[in-house]
Symmetry: D2
Subunit: 411 residues, 4 copies
């Protein structure tokens, strides 16, 4: 039996393939050469399971998505006090490449805009650290977050450096205020190398899932970040991650997120899931056009929203086996992740047992959850196992498995 | 046996009583006459239990705290589309009484600033609604949210109207852009009446708890708001509720909140809790000085933070009784609410039974949670019941009940 | 012999008649009803001679052109210190109806924007003055500046008051900061009456010429303003008169000016001339489209520019009569006004005398000046008088009178 | 007989010597080492006479005072169209080192702020000019304006380059928008060299006087600038020369001016005079403290103000000699320059002749003018010449020469 989640994700991707709006970033040849139709997505749950679809193994440069994770590194390397005295946490209400300094302190308003990210890079490791050590610090941390060794795309990096006037401007300005220290071109080069790390959507979803768990990489089990750092990074992504559309994004999509100019996008829901997407065409704000729409779909279909009532309990599922029957009890709101959890539990169970699905503690079932549950049960029955449904509250009416048959009903 | 939660809250209040920084709002005599030392707090959980301490039954005018709830009313009365076309959802980065209109659309940036709140009031009920009906709409909705009939403080209202130049200015400006319609002085009067509704911290915590549950008033059980509205209101509070310090508040405290010039403050964590506080002295940003510090304490002590890992599962507790023993199983991170939940469950149980506390599914116990658990067990034993602890993972080491005795240990 | 100046002005008007760009202000019916093709101009020299062409006797409401002159009244009524403490003198870089308050003092940035003009109106006469006295003060002063009794267009005034939301907004805002005192609707009404005074381009040119002379109405000879007031008004017009295009206007046209929404426009060059124009169609900045172009033409043709080298001496001309010859000596740069001065002097001279035009002290002659001089000499010869030219420096080569004849040449 | 003008200037300097407010610029050692008490002034009239007092021959770096003159060079090298498409002419309302770009075009708002001045420098000579040629262009033009060969202070230049982060930031930003072309560090170095040219107050007054005359250096007689360029430079100085206090300066002082961080200051009144001052202590806006006060004194004492009525005719004086008498006829308003003109005319006259001073065409005499006239007549009488006054209009009542004696009175 195969989980229906990847099928769902493929379906979502297919729904967006015809959207060719926007344009690939073209300010350097290396980005302009990206295959514009590429489209990929990966989800990593807080419990460490990854679902992926589309161009999930294509590498692209991380670009601005490096900002929240480098911020995490700086918070751990220098302490929150030092970092906050150099970079604020307020939304800027401006584009990513605006200066956006606070009027009195001259601090960049937050670490998600370039001025803040340059300052964050300059803070890495320690006051007099070797510039190369700062880049390696980022590469090494990102690798642990992703669960594999990442490397830098030297061609993109070299090309970016040729047109780095904007970042040089920001860094010289910050240097003139004493916010940023060290040699300006060296800091800009280091930051550009940080942005040139190659990742896939699988990497991004794992990195974000590590935030969701409070710092524990859910696949490797390593505590990569401390819990306070993970919390602060998610909070800053929520208030400043989407630049000047932060409020609209939080209301409409509700998934703290960050995008990169190469087409990547990352999002996180605490306790639940990390998400990575990739599609190179950008909208006018410079965010991945289809990436943004993928997040919208996930938010709508799966009720994945920071302020979604009961959203926080949506993944609870438990299994126990007794007397030839594997019982799986679901709880709360059932949507994609809960349903997939159920299927995972059954996959691990004795295939010789029959299956009892207990919905007594379920509040409600979303459309997507219903589809997943019924499709899952259908596949289990195809495996030759008996399928019984216990639904005393009637939260799953008319449980047609899609082929005109119905599960048995308990009590 | 009495819950230790109110004791904890009293202790928190006591820790702040000496803080006399800030000053009572004095632009009208009615507010200037407030007793500056008043201090109160109430928490209402998503399950409908309210804990209160201090001046919890003192009435004060709701003022700007009316903004998110009147926004909820307008969303339900007119639909999200109509409301969004008149008022945005972006943080303004400015003080509450700034105009803060979007450059192109002239929409007020969000409904938490006065320009937005005036527009929201003008949208209530319907296009050609009677002005009095708008005020009554708010009074009636707020009453259902609070769970009791609220009334207007006519003296405060009359006095505010005498110095309403700022709001008259904002409303005339919006009128000139066609954002706000109707007679300007009438709209300002209606909004001022809305702000003059009298509430207590108990009312505020219940109102916020109704957001937390996705619209169901947790004490009365009434579905007062629809789920989408509750979600949108919380999202806007998160991004724009604390005016120009929105990012800092989200990072440091992490509880979407709104304050009023009379000293009230309201906060919410989805699925968890609504909070109301009252202390009339204001800081320089116009927020309640001790109110803000109360929220900080709750966030720190109780790990109440939107991005706190595992925060979402912190209240899970279940009880079952069999063979003369009431078993209570806790889950996740145990802090104040989980501990209080346990005590509530035991209070409802047969006092003739012994008690088994099962911590097998607990990940960790906060300092506050440990104190609460041990104090609770001590009080149960004082009631003459047997107390056994099951803690196979050792999450509650050295369980001294505070009097040198220990619970029995199971298996 | 008739002065060729009106012919020149008619010609300039004719050159712009085909320009129908822009649109008549239409926010109230009274302004929308203006005849869009109307076009008029008047110049009043510092010596009191007025030249006019086109619709020079059509009345229109003065609107924002009242601002500099009401500012003059307030300066004289209350002293520069009191006025400066309420209204600044900096350019705002914003549109006329922006709030544009200084960040610290909350003063409107200058008296040329509405916020400043409303404050100026509230300062007129004295602290507790009767509102009607303020309006009468303006009407009476403007009448003395124009040299005739002006009256208010009550229909326009009443109509403006119905849509005065923007000014009510500004005034309430200023009232909330304590910058403006008194009853807000009353101040707005008074200011609207001030803006509804009816003027012609002749009135405007005389009003401006009174600034040019340092306060002496050049036709009536009355000292209407004190010199310091006239100086301050011209300086503020120069830096803030043209709203957000102040710098461009000063560089390109160089004539401190002010426009009104009814299509009027006023300009001044110290010591030289006051200018009034009228054409109801407005450009996108709200300035009279053809009015602005008229000023451009005058600046280019006549070298009328605040920073035009030698511009200040351009009108010097002297006549003396001896032995049957009237000698007229010109000085500096000869353009329109110097040439017209010459003709005026000759008109006053004994028609029985011959004419000697002495150009020894002339630095240069503009194209327009040359045309005027030769046309003038031609007309004098037509009157049967002998015409001799003395031009030892050769500043008027090839003095063909236009009919193939030449003046006699002296020494 | 010695002109009393230098005595007057010495007196003005003496009145300010005790003012030690402000502080010498200290961001580089070379500026910090300036002797803070230095104080100098020079005036060059449009007729080419220079008066100086105090430290008039001390060299200091020209710094930002180079901006208007380099702007003149660019206007002549590239044409007004090209220059205007790269740099605007609007006041910025911001400090000199703000970016202040126009929102749509990204042009720096004007050439008086650093962003504009850097762009102007990059435009000098031609599109592909050698960087060294740009610096030499400025040095050579400034030398012709000053009337002597100027040289660069290499120590100041080298030191400035070490802390040029702000200018590097501005230039990189402009480079990223395509406003500025070429290698950024090279442009910044060239601009820094331009700012390091050494001048005296005599140089500055001659440079400004060249603007006043419309481009003719009044001492050398060379046409250094074309008239349109001189006009544009003066207009931009008027609207943007004093940064964020442009309006206040224009109203209060009325002399278009520009200051430099080394303590220099330059000012100009068209047709009249160029002024240079030097005093190293700066006020909080970064302008020379005593330099600003010197300009205020000149404006008040000498009625030197762009909008001063009759100010434009204040220097007219003519002499003729016949029958043993040198007659000097004054005109208009008599103040310092007219009086000094008279004395100069007499100095050039036959010392054997008596003197007749004719005031028939004088409108009024300022306090300072009266003092100058009487002191001048007293000195002439000391030379043994007869002194007669012709004053039919009584504009110089009670002409006591200061020693109890009076001039003879004519007719």
């Amino acid at each position: 039996m195969r989980s229906p989640v990847p099928d769902y994700l493929e379906e979502v991707l297919d729904g967006l393939r015809e959207d060719r709006a926007g344009a690939v970033a073209d300010y350097i040849p290396e980005l302009a050469a990206a295959e514009p139709d590429q489209l990929g997505i990966a989800l990593t749950t807080a419990l460490g399971r990854t679902y992926a679809a589309g161009d999930a193994d294509v590498e692209f440069t991380i670009q601005s998505i490096s900002k929240p994770f480098a911020y995490a590194a700086a918070l751990m390397d220098r302490g929150a006090g030092t970092v906050l005295s150099a970079v604020g946490v307020e939304p800027s209400g401006e584009a990513f490449n605006e200066l956006s300094l606070e009027q009195d302190t001259r601090r960049p308003k937050n670490p998600m805009i370039n001025a803040g990210a340059l300052t964050v890079h300059s803070l890495l490791v320690g006051e007099d650290a070797d510039p190369a050590a700062r880049v390696e610090r980022v590469r090494e941390l990102f690798s642990r977050l992703a669960g594999r060794e990442l490397r830098i795309d030297e061609a993109v990096c070299a090309s970016e450096l040729e047109t780095a006037h904007r970042n040089l401007a920001l860094a010289h300005m910050l240097r003139s205020y004493g916010i940023l220290t060290g040699d300006v071109p060296t800091v800009v080069e280091g930051y550009t190398r940080q942005c040139s790390l190659l990742v896939t959507v699988r990497d991004l979803s794992a990195m974000a899932a590590t935030l969701a768990t409070g710092g524990i990489q859910p696949v490797t089990g390593e505590q990569v970040l401390d819990a306070a750092t993970a919390r602060q990074v998610m909070a800053v992504m929520a208030s400043a991650g989407m630049y000047d559309g932060a409020g609209d994004w939080l209301v409409r999509v509700g998934i703290p997120a960050k995008s990169g100019v190469a087409g990547g996008m990352v999002g996180v829901l605490p306790d639940l899931v990390g998400i990575g997407t990739f599609s190179p065409r950008l909208d006018r704000q410079g965010n991945s056009r289809r990436g943004g729409r993928l997040f919208e779909r996930l938010s709508q279909d799966m009720d994945m929203h920071l302020f979604s009532p009961n959203g926080s309990r949506q993944d609870a599922a438990r299994a126990s086996t007794a007397e030839g029957t594997t019982s799986v009890a679901l709880e709360g709101v059932v949507q994609l992740t809960a349903a997939s959890e159920m299927l995972d539990l059954l996959e691990d169970s004795d295939p010789a047992t029959d299956v009892l699905l207990d919905l007594e503690r379920v509040h409600s079932v979303t459309d997507l959850g219903r589809r997943m549950l019924l499709e899952g049960l259908r596949r289990i029955r195809l495996d030759g196992r008996g399928v019984t449904l216990r639904d005393p509250r009637g939260t799953l009416p008319d449980p047609d498995l899609g082929d005109g048959t119905f599960p048995d009903v308990a009590e």
